[in-house]
Amino acid sequence: MKKFLLSALLSAPLWVLGQGFQVNLQGQKQIGMAGAGSALALDEASVFYNPGAVTFLEKNSVSAGVNPLLFKSAFKQTGSNVTEDVKNKIAPPFEFYAVWGPKSNKWKLGLGVYTPFGGLVDWGDNWSGKYALTSLNLKAIYFQPTLSIKITDRIGIGAGFVYNHGDVNLQRAIPVNFPDGRSGKATLDGTGTGYGWNAGLYIKTLSNISFALVHKSKVITKLDGGSAEFEVPKSLEGSFPAGNTFNAELPLPATTSLGIGIPLSKSTVLAFDASWVQWHIYQDLSFDYATNTPALVDTKSARNYRDGSSFKLGINHQASEKLALRAGIGYAFSPVQDGYVTPEAPDADRYILSAGLGYTPTRHFEVNASFFFEDVKSRKQKNIETGLDGTFKTLVYAPGISLTYKW
């Protein structure tokens, strides 16, 4: 079996490619395993990772966790001797889950509230790419009520409805100058909503090797009537009218995952996940302003994302009755093509390294902690639209902790 897995890994086509704005922090145990675990009925986070596995959870539970994320990006303009860093801002991806079902019944209900997409980058108001972007704060919060049903003792299916509440705040400098020489500034701020679904299949074979197939649908998030504020010299205020609003659409991609879980011993299990993130729907970022002027036309910036993918391998080892240890490695292929890398998502292929531990002091309580690290490869790019030309390098650090109550 191990041999089979290895060859599957090596021969896997590179169709699974995927990051961009995706945040892969939805459950401390899975995070500790680099995000693998869709084929394991580990805990209530299966509401996200595989609704089909939820019904195989032994207990009812609620859990809440947070993963303060530090996105450390640096940029060096081509030919420059200055490296510019993003400001240290902590993004707070979080997750909340509840799973309940009558004991020894064939179904369970679940609820998940989590943040699968987001971005928090603040390059400061005066960096060399300020006319492309100064800061972006993007949050997508998914609410997912879920039903999971055992078809047989070894096969479960589950599905959930997804409601997304999205927040976006995008700021950049405008290349017009005040009498004191400083630049103008644009701030676009809005909230939006979108809908989708998440469905999964869980199969536990007779050899106890488990398989998962999960599809999370795309969620087209529409922002209507967001505020568009422009700080420009008074003589240009006619061109950038006050109280303007905008509409925009942010398509969040579908993800299809294939998972395998392999018990190595009674206390140790290996999990492998391959995910295909269908980013191709993100073709452009458009802003449609309520009031247009010759200087303020609707914009349509090409993004031309291709599909992304990731491969994750994790291990969970129950060291003692109370202590579990986890580790994981992964690799993700960027959906951002050459020429389209932007400071809002300075993306590139990345390595993932993670570790985690769980502690169960009593029958009812569980504490899990994780540490998630991503090394996004250095990428030298000239953006086709803005002409911003330079090298991006990013490291991501996310320690996390969650509390669970089980009964």
Partner: protein
């Protein structure tokens, strides 16, 4: 197994501590290559001096492209770079124009008249004595640099201010730039040899040598003299080609179409704009005829003459030749620019010098799409384009930064140096009134 997992957990934490900040490998700012930047001198005209908005003033001087280049050369062994700055008290130098209002896209340009560096009634400027490396003098031409009468050194106030009294009227620019022990030079000169003529509507005033066209062969031989003198000690350097002077906002803002639209707004029957060409003939203007920028503020368009005929709208009262660079004159001016540039390039190539092709770069800026750089779309449009200052000819600080990078890229390519590029977003375009 347990130990392995524990170890990897520890390894992850160590990794965090060690590699918290992303690093980017840096080739820039490490070597001067085959060049020696320890004493750089900049030879040229108004563009080199930092002239902008119709005047020479301290803010412009500080962001003149040679000053921006010199600051970057400092990271690869470049020395100090001195310039004839105006004092803080007289920071507005010769005076300049500022944008004081913008109503429906029509600018109001107002002269700045305080803090001037004018020292006498004859409008001489504050003297600057002391060693300088930015040798740019507004109005300097290749032909007048060899002025055998030495009168230009007294007539040009920007030249006069740099000379001790004893030398005023007794030297010329070619002599002035020599003996400065430089190790590296830039030479961007020759624009005025054709621009002076074009700015005067292609009318040569016999008493004003700044309005003539320099003969092509003369240009070539005098330019060669410059290169011989500047490389006499084996120095390396860079030359700049001459931009297409007909592509600047000065000639592309007050268009024939805009004038016709303005006329039609008052009299819908207006059918054509009439101009007097360089040959004296009168004809309807076409899109290929260029009108000078100051025509807008002159306030003569459409004014009836003694016979009640509106100016510019009738063959009997055409726009005078001096306001117009007609299409034949445009062809002539472009031909001279091309000829000067082929001389500059072949002479520089034979000397093994770097060439900053500002001609090619400004043509790109003047194209419909402009140049996208660092999130800015740089165009040749007046005021909104960002590259050209309010006189429609000279550069904004942003334009200077961009052109400094063109020079730096050419220097690095030629000499294998890694002079860092300039972050152009730190430099402004036109200042808009608040």
């Amino acid at each position: 197994m347990k130990r392995y997992i524990l170890n990897s957990f520890v390894a992850a934490i160590i990794l965090f501590a060690a590699a918290c900040k992303p690093e980017i490998e840096t080739p820039a700012g490490t070597t001067a290559g085959q060049a020696n930047f320890s004493k750089y001198i900049a030879v040229g005209n108004s563009l080199t001096s930092g002239y902008a908005d119709g005047g020479l003033y301290l803010e412009g001087q500080k962001v003149a492209y040679p000053n921006l280049i010199a600051a970057k050369m400092a990271t690869v062994g470049g020395g100090a770079f001195t310039s004839p700055f105006f004092s803080e008290e007289h920071s507005n130098g010769s005076g300049y124009i500022s944008l004081t209002a913008l109503v429906n896209g029509t600018p109001t340009l107002t002269p700045v008249v305080d803090k001037l560096a004018i020292r006498d009634a004859a409008k001489h400027l504050d003297k600057y004595n002391g060693e300088i490396q930015n040798l740019g003098i507004p109005g300097m031409r290749v032909d007048l640099a060899f002025d055998p009468t030495f009168t230009f050194s007294a007539a040009n106030p920007y030249f006069e201010r740099l000379l001790p009294d004893a030398q005023v009227g007794k030297t010329n620019y070619f002599q002035f730039i020599q003996g400065r022990n430089h190790t590296f030079f830039s030479l961007w000169l020759g624009n005025n040899d054709v621009l002076g003529y074009a700015l005067n509507g292609a009318v040569t005033v016999s008493t004003d040598p700044t309005t003539t066209l320099t003969d092509k062969v003369t240009f070539s031989s005098l330019y060669a003299n410059f290169l011989n003198a500047l490389t006499a000690g084996g120095q390396k350097g860079i030359v700049g080609t001459i931009p297409d002077v007909t592509a600047v906002p000065y000639f592309n803002t007050v268009t024939v179409a805009a004038l016709l639209n303005a006329a039609k707004a008052i009299n819908p029957a207006a059918a054509a704009i009439y101009i007097q060409t360089g040959t004296g003939s009168v004809r309807p203007a076409t899109a290929e005829d260029l009108i000078r920028l100051p025509f807008q503020s002159e306030g003569i368009f459409g004014k009836p003459n003694g016979s009640g005929i509106p100016y510019g709208l009738h063959p009997l009262n055409p726009i005078e030749n001096k306001w117009v660079l007609d299409k034949d004159e445009v062809i002539k001016v472009k031909d001279y620019v091309n000829s000067y540039n082929s001389s500059i390039k072949s002479l520089a190539t034979s000397k093994g010098l770097a060439i900053a092709d500002t001609y090619a770069y400004f043509n790109q800026v003047a194209s419909t799409d402009g140049v996208n750089v660092q999130g800015i779309t740089l165009k040749a449009a007046f005021i909104s384009g960002g590259a050209f200052s309010l006189d429609g000819v000279h550069l904004t600080p942003r334009g200077n930064a961009v052109i400094a990078n063109v020079f730096i890229d050419a220097i690095n390519a030629k000499y294998g140096s890694t002079v860092p590029n300039i972050d152009i977003t730190q430099y402004r375009g036109v200042k808009f009134p608040n």
